[in-house]
């Protein structure tokens, strides 16, 4: 199939379905009509879309953990614990790393090993292997809506099985689940596989079943400048909307400077709506998610709590619709359920204490929103231009040209020419704008910001700044200052 940003015909979609469902035995368990009826039976309070829409209306921030273990019973127990002891509003099911690579044989082996040893031998829940029924056991055993969270370049079968399995939200996108999660997968390929996922979601939507979709905002989680992640989130929202998706949660990974973080969420929300409107997707519901700091964490648990709380504060003051929560074990390894719930409770406390507080768009915040929007507009307009008005085609070319560029990505199809570093107030700026299609004044803005920091630190502008910034939070600071 030739990539273009155009809704797949029902025939093309249904034809492709046959191949997808045939790729692993559990695919046979999916009956789309039956699945739609099953989803119709799920009460609104157990659906992402209605809970999110409600939160948007009330301007409250919901909290959601990451969590997944290989076996069904243990996973249900974990989710219940996070709901009851962690006070989670929304639940996840994090998928294991084999399933993410469509290595279902390996996942099967992992399930068997986990059963035999009584220990978790996979780093997540292998939903494809557990099949529709296994998924329904999970989603029907908890009181909150459950989302699939993963990092899968080709998530077509995963989507088929989990949506039939009662999940009401599905994370990921053709860019955000490629560039940070793969080494050598072509952009055309992931955009096509994710059009399939979006088309499937749109199919449910046509039948009156709203499934929420969430582009993965944080990307590599490491000093990603807001305009980069916002541009990608908006592209994935546009591509999803074209396939019929009507509930989109656009995401952003906290950078750490409060003004920048609040500005990023506000800019993201405003521009996502603006672009959706411009291309005629006027009935698409937009919500936002802030991910607590996604880079390296401090090892000390008390300090990790502080990082968690600061992310919660940013989410609350930005009035993000939800916040994805880290745990005090982050730097060490997959958290215990207790550590996970502790992160949630700390987050809930901050969110609740700040529920009635909001950052007002005074001059400083307004200026930050403005710069993010201008940068984002540069990237998006150039991408559209490269695609002759087709955002999907443009995206492929934009990555080739470095017009979209993600820092520290493992993927070889990413140019890797930009270099971020913090400015003197800790906002993430560009040390090198690479091939990003910025105007001269934007480039000058970044040069000045970085120069100001270099001057205050009494050193030359250099890559060492970025390195220092990568380690900074795990060493208690935001800006990686040179040692005295």
């Amino acid at each position: 199939m030739q990539l273009q940003n155009k809704k797949w015909t029902e025939e093309a979609f249904l034809a492709e379905r046959q191949n997808v469902l045939a790729s692993w035995p559990t695919g046979k368990g999916v009956d789309l009509d039956e699945a739609i009826e099953y989803q119709r039976g799920i009460a609104p309070e157990k659906r992402f879309q209605s809970k999110l829409d409600n939160a948007v209306k009330r301007e409250v921030t919901l909290i959601q953990p990451r969590a997944g273990v290989p076996l069904i019973e243990a996973h249900i127990e974990l989710l219940r614990y996070l709901e009851n002891e962690g006070e989670a509003d929304l639940l996840p099911t994090t998928i294991d790393a084999y399933t993410r690579l469509n290595r279902y044989e390996d996942a099967e082996h992992g399930i068997k090993e986990s059963m035999a040893s009584g220990k978790a031998m996979l780093n997540g829940f292998p939903a494809v292997n557990h099949g529709v029924e296994g998924c329904r056991m999970v989603t029907s055993s908890v009181a909150s809506p459950v989302q699939v969270r993963h990092g899968t370049p080709d998530a077509r079968l995963l989507a088929e099985i989990t949506l039939a399995g009662g999940f009401t939200s599905f994370e990921g996108g053709g860019i955000s689940y490629n560039i940070p999660y793969a080494k050598n997968v072509p952009m055309e390929h992931t955009l096509l596989t994710w059009q399939y996922v979006d088309r499937l979601t749109g199919y449910y939507e046509e039948k009156g079943i709203s499934i929420n979709r969430e582009p993965f905002g944080p990307l590599t989680g490491t000093l990603v400048p807001p305009c980069v992640s916002n541009s990608i989130a908006i592209i994935e929202a546009l591509v999803a909307a074209e396939q019929g998706v009507r509930s989109v949660t656009v995401g952003y990974g906290q950078c750490g400077n409060l003004v920048q973080d609040v500005a990023a969420i506000r800019a993201l929300e405003q521009q996502t709506k603006e672009y959706l409107d411009r291309f005629g997707y006027k009935d698409c519901n937009v919500s936002t998610v802030l991910h607590q700091w996604m880079g390296g964490f401090p090892q000390d648990e008390a300090k990790a709590f502080a990082v968690i709380c600061w992310g919660s504060a940013a989410a609350a003051l930005a009035k993000a619709t939800k916040v994805i929560v880290k745990t005090p074990h982050e730097a060490m390894g997959v958290p215990t359920k207790e550590a996970n719930a502790a992160g949630l409770r700390a987050t809930k406390q901050i969110i609740s204490m700040l529920a009635d507080q909001k950052m007002v768009e005074d001059t400083v915040l307004a200026a930050e929103i403005d710069i993010i929007k201008r940068e984002t507009r540069c990237i998006l307009e150039k991408t559209l231009e490269l695609g002759n008005g087709d955002i999907a085609v443009g995206t492929v070319r934009a990555f080739e040209a470095g017009v979209i560029d993600v820092p520290f990505a493992p993927s070889r199809i990413n140019a890797g020419k930009i270099m971020p570093a913090r400015d003197d107030q800790g906002a993430v700026r560009f040390l090198d704008t690479g091939m990003l299609p910025f105007t001269e004044d934007i480039k000058a803005f970044h040069r000045e910001k970085i120069a100001e920091r270099a001057k205050n630190e009494g050193r030359e502008v250099s890559f060492q700044m970025s390195i220092d910034d990568i380690y900074a939070i795990s060493k208690s600071c935001l800006v990686g200052r040179p040692k005295k």
Partner: protein, 138 residues
């Protein structure tokens, strides 16, 4: 110091954590090593091939995502079989699932044939210091 020593490095298995890898790559080069960086998602075979091709002095394995213990199994034997007997073998990162006492983890990986084991939060400087000691005796 003697002639430039050659290191083969990469992130093992299905692991895509690229940040530490990029920084280590930079730091090892700055420290004067000849570095063959295989990036992320590297199989045991790829490390070994690269090491043979470059006549490497050490293989540095990173694992962050939790499957390190599975991914590293049998690595030393494979090296031996491929004729890399005695090659210096390091492993580092978040090499096991979950928060575990480092002493025990270290013991398990040493038993698997790794010469040195580095836990979460290791700085490039620590790695470099160990390499200098083991490769130059300094």
């Amino acid at each position: 110091m003697d002639a430039k020593k050659t290191l083969v490095m990469g992130v093992i298995g299905a692991d895509v954590h690229a940040v530490g890898n990029q920084i280590l790559n930079y730091a090892f080069r700055e420290a004067g090593f000849n570095v063959i960086n295989l990036g992320v998602m590297v199989s045991q075979e790829e490390y070994i091939e690269a090491a043979i091709e470059s006549a490497a002095d050490a293989i540095l394995v990173s694992s962050l995502y939790g499957h390190g213990e599975l991914d590293c199994q049998g690595f030393r034997d494979k090296c031996d079989e491929a004729g890399l007997k005695g090659i210096l073998l390091y492993v580092g990162g978040n090499i096991v699932v979950g928060k575990q006492p480092f002493e025990e983890v270290e013991k398990r990986f040493k038993a698997m044939g790794f010469d040195r084991v580095f836990g979460p939060g290791t700085t490039p400087e620590e790695g470099i210091a160990a390499l200098k000691k083991d490769l130059y005796g300094a």
